[in-house]
Amino acid sequence: MGSANLSEVAYLPDTVTRSVKLLVAGPFGVGKTTFVGSVSEIRPLRTEEPITKASVGVDDLAGLPAKTSTTVAMDFGRRTFGGVALYLFGTPGQHRFLPMWDELARGALGALVLVDTRRLDHCDEILSAVEKRGLPYTVAVNEFEGARRYPAQEIREALDLAPTTPLTVCDARDQSSSAKALIVLVEHLTTRREMLA
């Protein structure tokens, strides 16, 4: 375990004093890391947290005899806008990591849920996990080449989306298209806050 290669570290400009955390959620293989990479100004980074099945972090170490452990990996990216650094965290898509979402959701202002129309049935548990944490969210269909296009209403019904939940389409490989999907999310978040204010 060496030291970090400081030449690879991209420090924020010293005008940045605020940060925002948004989640990019979705099932395994839906294109979350691609999406994060499209918008990020830095090469996406990865954190790895060793966890037991019972806990996150090192809290429960004392007296743990033999709990099976694994590593939960998160890819994230960053984009600076004026005095604000936007951080996008791709959530681990695997079912077994859903209990970790309490930690992931902490401090997040909202979530973009990416879906793949070829596997809409995989999205139920992701939407439930987002809703359970009370995170406001919007849904974006990542349009894979060759995948059949469906009318928005059919997708809404398949996902059982509330009429107030915005649904959009994007190409996760494309910066402009990914930014548009994020705009829908951030507009949704600001509107909600204005209504609550």
Binding site: M1, V16, T17, S19, V20, T47, P50, T52, G82, T190
Partner: protein, 115 residues
Amino acid sequence: MSRRRRDPGLVRAYVMTGGVLRPSRELGLVTLLVAREAPVQGLAPEPRRVLGVCSRHGALSVAEVAAHLDLPPSVVTILASALLDSGHLAVPVPDAGAPDIDVLREVLRGLRQLV
């Protein structure tokens, strides 16, 4: 019959924090950190590494520090909390305590320029 071993990853995390199990502060993954001028004598190797990757001239988030050092975010949170307590690190202070909505509007303006 041999004793079953504890998980090496978790033991490693425990050792790196000097046996501290919980952070002294509420830090999140996107809490920003900057280094401050302070003597580093007496710091253990792991806190020294955290301090070494932070800069006095530009912030990094807790998550970035963790990724660059290949340390679990939970460990960085504990180490960074102690370094904030000791004055080696600081959290940048916003000019005005802008509420979340102003921050979101700034993000929105920026995103629109990417389209």
